[in-house]
C-alpha cells in the first residue's frame, strides 16, 4: 500500500539532500542547546561557588546570572536562525521536490 507519490519523492535525489541538510542543522542546534543547558545544570549542581562568583571585584553581576541571561538570548537567537533557514531555504527545496513528484498527476 505504498503511495506512489511518496515513492517518487523518495526517489528524487534532492530528497535525501533536503533531509540531510535539515537534520544536520536541527541536530547541531539541538546538541548545542542540550550541552549548554545540562552543562549549566551540572555547574549549578556541582560547582555552586563558581556560579556565584562576581564577574569583577565588587560587581553585582555574577557569573551564573550573566551566563543564564546569555543562554536565554542565544537559545532564542537559535530558534530565529532555524526558523529563517527552514522557512526559506528548506521550504523552497521541499516545494520543489513535491512539485516534481506531482507534476502532471494529482495535486
Amino acid at each position: 500500500m505504498k503511495n506512489p507519490i511518496y515513492e517518487k519523492i523518495r526517489n528524487n535525489p534532492k530528497f535525501p539532500q533536503l533531509v540531510q541538510k535539515r537534520s544536520r542543522f536541527a541536530w547541531t542546534l539541538s546538541a548545542i542547546t542540550l550541552v549548554a543547558f545540562y552543562g549549566f545544570v551540572m555547574l549549578v549542581a556541582f560547582q555552586p561557588a563558581t556560579v556565584g562568583l562576581a564577574l569583577s571585584e565588587g560587581s553585582q553581576y555574577t557569573f551564573g546570572l550573566v551566563l543564564e541571561l546569555a543562554m536565554f538570548i542565544v537559545f532564542w537567537l537559535m530558534t530565529w536562525l532555524y526558523v529563517r533557514r527552514a522557512n526559506g531555504e528548506f521550504d523552497a527545496l521541499t516545494q520543489e521536490i513535491v512539485r516534481e513528484a506531482t507534476r502532471g498527476g494529482q495535486k
Binding site: 519523492i9 542546534l29 549549566f40 551540572m42 551564573g64 530558534t79 532555524y82 522557512n87 521541499t94 513535491v98
Partner: protein
C-alpha cells in the same frame, strides 16, 4: 444555541456580581474590600469581552476541525501568543516570583529549565507534529501503528496528565480567588468550571485560543508595568537593586548562589529533564501545533512563543528581586506588621503585594483579574485537550472505528467537556485542604515519561511497533505514577507514612529511561508480521513528516 450562550454569559456575570454583594470578603480586612472591587470589575470586563468572542466563535465552529483546531486558521503570531499563554499559568506568575523572592538565584535556574524545552521542540518536533498530526498527538503515535490500542493508551495518559493538571489549577484557583476577590472557595471553583464549559463547548478552539491570546497580552502588559514601576525605585539600576537586596535578604550573600532547591544533583537533573521533556509531552501544548495552517506557521509559533516566554521570565526575575526590597521591607504586607514574619495571604502573594506597593489598588486589581483570567484560560485549554482525547481518540477512532459522523464527534466532545468540567469542580472541592503542589510535578512527570518517549520514537525510529509503543507507554505511565506516589511528597506528606519508599521527588530521570528501554526492547523482540508491516510503513510516514505532502488535506475540511 446563541440564546443559551447569552443566558450562560449572563449567569456568569451575575455570578461574579452576586458574589460581590454576598457579603464581606473572607479575610475580613477593610483594605482588601476596596481592592476586590477593582479586581472584580476588571475581571467582569474580561469575562464580558471573552463571552463576546465566544459568541462570535460559536458561529464559526461547525466542523470537527473548527472545534479541535480552529480550522487550522490561526496565524503563527497568534498561536505563539496562545502557546505562551498556555505556558505562563498563574503558577508561573505567582510561583516563580515567590521563588526568586524566597530563594534568589535558584528561581532563575528553575526558569531556564522551564524555557530550554522550547528550542528543542522547534528543532526536533514542531514540523513533524504539524506534518503528521491532525487533531491530537495520538494521530502521530498511531499513524502507522494499531489505531485502537495505541490511541487508547495515548488517551489514557493524556487524560491522566489533564486531570492532575486540572486539579492543581482548580485548587490553586479557588484559593487565589478566595484571597484576591473575597469569594467563597466553592463559588470560585464553580465559577471557573462553568465559564470554562461555556468557552469550550460553544467556542471550541477558536474561543479557547482567543481567550488565551487576550490573557497573554494582559499578562505581558501587567507584568511589564509592575516591573518598570518597581525598577524605577532603584533608578533602573540592576546593580543597586541586587546590592541592597543582598543586604536585607535572610540568605545574605548566598542570595545569588545556587542553594537548597538544587542542593542535590540527582534532583536538579531529574527536575530539569521533567520540565524540559514534560513540556514536549503536554497534550494541551501539543494540540496547539495543529491549529496553524502548515509547518511554516508552526515554526513561527515556537519562535514567537519562546521569545515571549523568555522575555516574561526575565520580567518575573526582576519583579522577584525588586519584591525583596519593596515587599519584604514593608510591614504593611506582613501578618501583624512584623517584617520577616508570615506574608499576608502566604508566600504566593509576593507578585500581588508588589503590584499594590508600586501601583496601588488599581494595579493590584488589574493583576488579580489577570491571574483569574490566566487560570480560566489554562483550564479551558486543558479541558479541550482532554475532551479531544475522549471524542477524537476514544469515541471516533476506538469505539466507532473511524465511522462516527462529524456531528456526533462534536456532540461527544461537548459532553466530554461538560463532564471534565464537572469532574474538575468536584475534585477541586474535594482537594481543597490538600497540598496539591505535587500534582503539577506528576503531570509533567507523566507527560515526560509516558507521552514524550513514544511520541518522539514514533517520529524518529523506524523500528517502533505497536507492542513496543504500548509496553513503553504504559511502563512510563505506571513508573512515573509509582515514583511520585512513593516519594516524600505523597507517601509521607499526603498518606502520612514515616519515610518515603523512593528517595527523590522528581520522577523523570528514572521513569524516562524505563519507558525508552522498554519501548526499544519490546519493539526489537516483536517478530510478528504486523510489526514488520508497521516498520515498513515508516517509509511513507517519513516522507510526509519531512515534506508535509499529504498534510495539507488534514487542515482543509
Amino acid at each position: 444555541m446563541s440564546k443559551t450562550i447569552k443566558t450562560l454569559g449572563l449567569l456568569a456575570l451575575t455570578l461574579c456580581a452576586g458574589a460581590v454583594l454576598a457579603g464581606p470578603p473572607v479575610g475580613g480586612e477593610l483594605e482588601k474590600q476596596a481592592t476586590n472591587w477593582h479586581a472584580i470589575i476588571m475581571f467582569c470586563l474580561f469575562v464580558a469581552m471573552t463571552m463576546g468572542i465566544t459568541y462570535w466563535a460559536a458561529g464559526r465552529t461547525k466542523s470537527t476541525s473548527d472545534f479541535y483546531t480552529a480550522g487550522g486558521g490561526i496565524t503563527g503570531f497568534q498561536n505563539g501568543m496562545a502557546i505562551a499563554g498556555d505556558y505562563m499559568s498563574a503558577a508561573t506568575l505567582l510561583g516563580l516570583t515567590a521563588m526568586i523572592y524566597g530563594q534568589g538565584f535558584d528561581g532563575y535556574v528553575y526558569m531556564m529549565a522551564f524555557f530550554a524545552g522550547w528550542p528543542l521542540i522547534l528543532f526536533l518536533m514542531a514540523e513533524r507534529l504539524r506534518n503528521l498530526g491532525k487533531f491530537t498527538f495520538s494521530d502521530i503515535t498511531a499513524y502507522r501503528l494499531d489505531q485502537g490500542k495505541v490511541r487508547t493508551m495515548a488517551a489514557v495518559s493524556s487524560l491522566t496528565v489533564v486531570c492532575f493538571y486540572l486539579i492543581a489549577q482548580m485548587v490553586g484557583a479557588g484559593q487565589l480567588i478566595k484571597l484576591l476577590f473575597g469569594l467563597e472557595y466553592n463559588v470560585a471553583i464553580v465559577a471557573v468550571g462553568l465559564l470554562m464549559m461555556v468557552y469550550v463547548t460553544f467556542g471550541g478552539m477558536v474561543a479557547t485560543t482567543w481567550v488565551q491570546i487576550i490573557k497573554a497580552g494582559m499578562l505581558l502588559a501587567g507584568g511589564t508595568l509592575v516591573m518598570v514601576l518597581a525598577m524605577s525605585q532603584f533608578g533602573f539600576s540592576f546593580s543597586t537593586m541586587i546590592e541592597r537586596a543582598t543586604e536585607v535578604h535572610k540568605l545574605g550573600s548566598k542570595l545569588m548562589l545556587p542553594g537548597s532547591l538544587l542542593a542535590d544533583p540527582v534532583t536538579a537533573i531529574s527536575m530539569a529533564m521533567g520540565l524540559m521533556f514534560g513540556t514536549a509531552g503536554l497534550p494541551h501544548i501539543l494540540m496547539r501545533f495543529f491549529t496553524v495552517n502548515d509547518a511554516k506557521e508552526a515554526r513561527k509559533s515556537v519562535l514567537y512563543a519562546s521569545g515571549i516566554v523568555a522575555y516574561f521570565f526575565n520580567v518575573i526575575m526582576l519583579m522577584g528581586f525588586a519584591a525583596i526590597l519593596i515587599v519584604g521591607q514593608n510591614p504593611e504586607f506582613f501578618e501583624g506588621g512584623t517584617i520577616g514574619g508570615k506574608l499576608i495571604g502566604g508566600g504566593n502573594m509576593v507578585a500581588m503585594h508588589l503590584s499594590k506597593a508600586v501601583g496601588g489598588n488599581m494595579l493590584l486589581g488589574f493583576l488579580a483579574a489577570v491571574a483569574f483570567a490566566t487560570i480560566l484560560a489554562v483550564v479551558s485549554g486543558l479541558a479541550l485537550a482532554g475532551a479531544s482525547a475522549i471524542s477524537h481518540d476514544l469515541y471516533a477512532r476506538v469505539i466507532k472505528k473511524g465511522q462516527a459522523s462529524e456531528a456526533d464527534e462534536i456532540r461527544v466532545s461537548k459532553f466530554a467537556t461538560i463532564g471534565l468540567g464537572l469532574v474538575a469542580i468536584v475534585l477541586g472541592i474535594l482537594f481543597e485542604k490538600q497540598n496539591v503542589a505535587f500534582m503539577v510535578g506528576l503531570a509533567f512527570g507523566i507527560a515526560a515519561a509516558a507521552n514524550f518517549p513514544v511520541l518522539i520514537l514514533s517520529m524518529y525510529w523506524k523500528g517502533l511497533t505497536t507492542r513496543g509503543a504500548l509496553a513503553g507507554g504504559y511502563s512510563g505511565l505506571f513508573s512515573a505514577v509509582f515514583f511520585v506516589v512513593a516519594s516524600k511528597s505523597v507517601w509521607v506528606d499526603v498518606i502520612g507514612n514515616p519515610a518515603p519508599l523512593f528517595p527523590y521527588t522528581q520522577p523523570a530521570l528514572f521513569a524516562m529511561p524505563i519507558a525508552f528501554l522498554v519501548t526499544f526492547l519490546v519493539s526489537k523482540l516483536d517478530g510478528s508480521a504486523k510489526g514488520k508491516a508497521e516498520i515498513e510503513a515508516f517509509e511513507d510516514q517519513y516522507v510526509r513528516a519531512q515534506t508535509g505532502f499529504g498534510a495539507a488535506a488534514a487542515a482543509q475540511h
